[in-house]
Point group: C2
Chain length 492, copies 2
């Protein structure tokens, strides 16, 4: 396979698809819409998981595991949720295969092994979890219940793209139960903050925190909080959502608790999730025409060292120096790889690590040995420097922090340049059409206007930002009064 990548400004979508495959992150599988996450891609997910899991536990959550299947009768219990997911769910109807009498060596579904009740492969787990919580919650002493699950879910999407939208994906889903409405709302907000902190501090991906408009809410939620990121092609990506579910699931599954005062009350709920979609966001926030660019905090390999040598003697002399560097870097918690394979030339290795987005590359050759130096190249800016070998470990450690910061600032600048305030619908169309990015505009708050704008421009309301200022304004589309600007964009 050619290492050549389509350029972003030629065809952004093609660039993305090629990059995911060529950088060994993921590939399409034999199952329609399902991906194989390859080891390098999975290593990024593991780093994400580790950080998120730590943050969830620090905020008092525990992990548990609930069944993959949701019996149809539970699935349909919360009406809006069921309606929202019914059109895209995989359904298990049988529990056995048998030899196909018409087809030697082939199998077929055993018609006698039909399930009495169909099982839905979970597209999300509110139904099965709330049915379980019914047995766990009796008294105010059982609350709050703060649980998270790492799992696979299936949504039968018709148009899929690696990481961004796949029929099966990996995610975490938090499901919490609270005694009061205020506590549940504050939990939903807390998890939005956790997601925003993770996105900005680890993924180096700036996000806007806000609330979804009614029509963009999660099916079954009273309020959906979101973090929205902006990709390099000017399209927005919903990167994580945190839902205030009111008492909808508690009522559907009859989950009540006895309060301190001895009254029976329905509990209040939240759910919140991020998925392997984040890897798509990570790629589209930082990467360039040469390949992947990874923020050091999530890079499986942070530093790679490539020896440039002729003959074993030179390699040995280089290895001796490198061993010390590797040891010192590991002591500092840096993940480092010394690539001394003799089956590839240095140039091929350089290209490979560029494609794979390793943040810092070191090269040591004969002249470096003589001069006591190391060549250090950073992936984000392609800058190279020659550093004294004694200083290279602390230099690299600092450089990793600098790269992390630089990637965030670069993405923040891009977003600032691609966030436009408009006051008329002509301006709106012009920006959406030609410049892309977030467009901040007044909206009259109705679903009708939102729908029409979407129909005419393909732009949707990404969120009503948390920090939107209360001000008197006029809807760009209807001229009706509006009290806040909302954020529009075309989106993934």
């Amino acid at each position: 396979m050619s290492k050549h990548l389509t350029k972003r400004d030629e065809d952004y979508s093609k660039w993305y698809n090629e990059l995911v495959v060529k950088a060994d992150l993921a590939e399409n599988s034999a199952v329609r819409g399902c991906m194989v996450i390859k080891p390098y891609g999975f290593a990024i997910w593991e780093k994400m998981q580790a950080e998120l899991d730590r943050m969830f536990k620090e905020t008092g959550h525990q992990n548990a595991y609930f069944p993959l299947f949701v019996p149809k009768s539970l699935f349909e219990a919360e009406e809006k949720n069921a309606e929202g997911f019914a059109k895209e769910c995989a359904v298990v109807t049988h529990y056995r295969l048998q030899n196909d009498p018409d087809n030697e060596g082939k199998l077929r579904v055993d018609p006698e092994a039909k399930l009495e009740e169909e099982l839905v492969v979970r597209p999300t787990s509110e139904a099965i979890i709330w049915n379980t919580y019914k047995g766990w919650i009796q008294s105010y002493r059982d609350l709050p219940l703060l649980i998270n699950q790492w799992a696979n879910v299936v949504r039968w999407e018709m148009r899929t793209r690696l990481f961004l939208r796949t029929a099966e994906f990996l995610w975490q889903e938090g499901h919490t139960a609270h005694a009061t409405k205020a506590e549940a709302i504050s939990e939903a907000k807390q998890m939005q903050e956790v997601y925003a902190t993770f996105a900005e501090n680890f993924m180096a991906m700036p996000v806007v925190k806000g609330a979804k408009s009614e029509s963009e809410r999660f099916a079954g939620a009273d309020d959906t909080l979101t973090i929205e990121a902006l990709m390099q092609d000017g399209k927005a990506l919903q990167a994580g959502t945190s839902h205030f579910l009111g008492q909808n699931f508690a009522k559907a599954f009859d989950v009540k608790y006895t309060s301190k005062e001895g009254k029976k009350e329905h509990v209040w709920a939240t759910s919140w999730g991020v998925s392997t979609r984040l890897i798509g966001g990570l790629i589209m926030t930082h990467s360039d025409d040469a390949g992947l660019v990874l923020p050091p905090k999530l890079a499986p390999i942070q530093v790679v060292i490539v020896p440039i040598y002729k003959g074993e003697e030179q390699l040995n002399a280089i290895s001796e120096k490198v061993d010390v560097i590797v040891k010192e870097l590991r002591k500092k918690g840096v993940s480092v790889k010394f690539d001394d394979r003799d089956t590839f030339r240095p140039g091929a290795k350089f290209a490979e690590y560029e494609l794979k987005g390793v943040p810092v590359r070191m090269a040591i050759g004969k002249r470096d040995l003589e001069n006591g130096t190391v060549e250090v190249a950073r992936r984000d800016t392609f800058e190279k420097q020659t550093i004294a070998i004694d200083e290279v470990v602390s230099f690299a450690a600092n450089l990793l922090e600098e790269i992390q910061d630089n990637l965030f600032k670069r993405a923040l600048n891009y977003r600032a340049e691609h966030t436009t305030e408009v006051t008329t619908f002509d301006e709106f169309k012009e920006v959406i059409e030609n410049k892309g990015g977030f467009v901040s505009a007044h909206w009259d708050g109705t679903i009708e206007t939102e729908d029409k704008i979407k129909e005419l421009t393909k732009a949707t309301i990404r969120c009503i930002p948390n920090d939107a200022i209360e001000e008197e304004g006029k809807c760009i589309f209807t001229g009706k009064p509006s009290s806040k600007k909302v954020l529009f964009a075309k989106a993934y």
Copy 2:
């Protein structure tokens, strides 16, 4: 729910089921045969995962993720494997639900959303993975391929028991590809060693390493290596298996590599797995009539501290001392919980942590404050000691190690007492019937004899131990010559 547990010698099976539920490890779900793993049970699984994952990575493996679904045509490609799992697989046939016209508010499978090809929910992933490996392996340079996956799998078992046998379970499955037969065999052996080390050093569960007889092999394997543990009721538990798959899957999926000499050859394969079943083994190896007994290395809480006080002033004085102990224990990497809830009395807390198997319990009361002491109780032997507060941290750290050792030794003694060599079939029946445990006996090596013994006694060949001595002997059943003793037992 009553905290009272059925005693082991009254009804071991009932004791087990009650313990799993009462100790908050897991419970049955609304989905037939599927369990909910509760936070306390899942915390044990997370500890197991962390250790195993570390061991897999240390032996050069990387994690990846493959689809949940296996298209029927791939599922049936390796004939023996397909035959082995066809009878117990969940099958997805449709991808949409719709409103049921005959049933207001209910959903039904949309007859127009039938899949062209049925999808099997993976009971194991050889088929989907080897179909993927075909694209990954071209040359000897691509080998060995050393991959592991943490995943859920589904086997439609008719008789299920929490952790031991459930329709859905969590596991890891390693799938490796090698250039030579010898290398694949050595990989399978290596992973058997990894499993044995984990079982003995972390679970404190002694295991016999051996090979399965032909009829007990994994469907599609040329050889199945196993680790077999002995439960307290004298029944064996297969705790982990590592399969040498020969070229069976490489041939079924046409996976060839070009050797250094330029020849095209089929690759050699292994697969290996352990599952949440290990938690069942952990419980049945160590626990007692008072509840769970956990080896410290896998206990979610290693030390619990309970204050015994009247009034806030005493509690504050105790808390001050406890804070120092907690801090010092955490510094040593000990996970410790200070249970200062005022909604429960000390006696209730003692009972709870006994039931939940916390290895070390500390209690501090008024007299301890005066004397500068702490009462320390160990869960495995119920022994209590009064320790000077300045020494309690190092005492507890040592005690945790001692408990870990003691549990292993206790289990090893039990196994030694319950491993019997026999030379006649009468003896064999007598031991299997009345004493239980492992029975070591000569066997003529035929499937017929194995089947007959199973039919007559319910005992199966657990394994041909790796360390079985070559010796001349006679089959206990047929009197035919045998060169090695094998290990029989009734099994879970």
